[in-house]
């Protein structure tokens, strides 16, 4: 929690930033170091889905049809694949999105609070045809949904 407050302050880039800037300038804190503690390095650097799920505590996630993952079945280009996740599971507080076949599968992890609906739209890179997995956390339990997106060859290829 302590770390979280610090990070939010820095993110806002105003107000009480002064003290922290001084620390950074003095070399006591490198910006990356400040956020690395908060950014879940273990989860984002895990090389497979199982590793990611373990890092976020979701290895026993169960399927639930109230967790809706909306993806195109086929993408014209893997560089931008629109993905939407909507959780209808009561008390959902977090959503994570994974691209199984990417070298680093965890794409994003969101915590929702203060009236935010547990849903998000993002655009992801897919190196190849892959399963997309959405994980939701509600009341301390984890739920999972997955769908495949087929990445096609596009353009003349010259």
């Amino acid at each position: 929690m302590e770390m979280n407050v610090t990070r939010r302050t820095v993110l806002r880039g105003a107000g009480s930033l002064g003290a922290l800037s001084a620390l950074i300038a003095a070399g006591a804190l490198k910006p990356a170091a400040v956020f690395a503690a908060e950014w879940n390095k273990g989860a984002f650097e895990a090389r497979d889905s199982a590793g990611v799920l373990k890092s976020i505590g979701a290895e026993s996630a169960t399927e639930n049809n109230k967790l809706v993952l909306k993806v195109p079945d086929i993408a014209e280009n893997g560089a931008v694949v629109p993905v939407e996740v909507v959780s209808g599971i009561p008390n959902t507080t977090s959503i994570a999105i994974l691209v199984e076949k990417n070298p680093l599968p965890l794409s994003a992890y969101f915590d929702f609070s203060n009236g935010a609906l547990p849903e998000v739209a993002v655009r992801l890179k897919l190196g190849q045809t892959s399963l997309i997995k959405a994980v939701a956390k509600a009341d301390g339990k984890f739920f999972i949904a997955q769908k495949e997106v087929k990445v096609t060859v596009g353009g003349c290829g010259g």
Binding site: I74, C156, G157
Partner: protein, 217 residues
């Protein structure tokens, strides 16, 4: 070229129109004919405004007879003229000396997938590195859903025609020089211009004709 037999042209155009109406795969370009004067102006403009880059040299704007006739007739040459052109192009066919037309369909699939080669981004003429651009225009293997529709579907090519020496020779010849069969075909003359070599064309023939190829499954 400037003196086109009008009645003949009209007839061939109406034939083409009938075919176009009945068949989505006919190369039925919109009936368009550029005047000799405008063709001349277009080439003069390109020769003034374009420049050589890497292997894409200015002599690529020097047209051959096929291009001249197709340009002058809006891709619908009078039948006699088309037949003459096709005969001339047939005479340029270089078929494999060993009489064998079939290569490896798996290698053929890779060539069919690739659209590489012959552009100003390519430093050298290296047919062995070139692709056939096939999927850009044709449906081929059922597994590849990303295929173009400028050319006809080739799904089941060998199955429909049979794996005969004649089918193999036809496929080889068509890839080598499409204009031997249809004077103003949209398809490039891959062998004729040296974009693909003998081995590559054989591999493509195998992709189309070999009973083991997914095309014929």
């Amino acid at each position: 070229m400037k003196k086109i037999n009008t009645p003949l042209l009209a007839i061939s155009m109406s034939i083409a129109a009938v075919l176009a109406a009945g068949c989505a795969t006919q190369q039925s370009h919109s009936m368009h004919q550029t005047s000799p004067e405008m063709i001349q102006k277009a080439f003069a403009a390109m020769k003034r405004d374009f420049h050589a880059r890497a292997i894409a040299t200015m002599d690529r704007l020097d047209t051959d007879k096929v291009q001249d006739v197709c340009n002058a007739t809006g891709d619908v040459p009078p039948e006699e003229m088309a037949a003459k052109l096709e005969a001339e192009q047939t005479a340029t066919l270089k078929l494999p000396a060993d009489g064998n037309y079939m290569g490896d369909w798996k290698a053929g699939e890779k060539i069919a997938q690739s659209g590489r080669g012959m552009t100003w981004r390519d430093k050298k003429m290296e047919p062995e590195k070139n692709g056939g651009n096939c999927y850009n225009c044709h449906q081929i293997s059922p597994q590849e859903v990303s295929y173009g529709t400028i050319g006809p579907s080739l799904l089941g090519f060998g199955k429909i025609r049979g794996n005969t020496a004649e089918t193999q020779k036809y496929a080889y010849s068509k890839i080598y020089n499409s204009k031997a069969f249809n004077a103003c075909s949209t398809m490039p003359r891959f062998g004729h211009v040296g974009a693909l070599n003998e081995k590559q064309i054989k591999d493509l023939v195998a992709l189309l004709v070999d009973p083991a190829s997914p095309v014929n499954k």
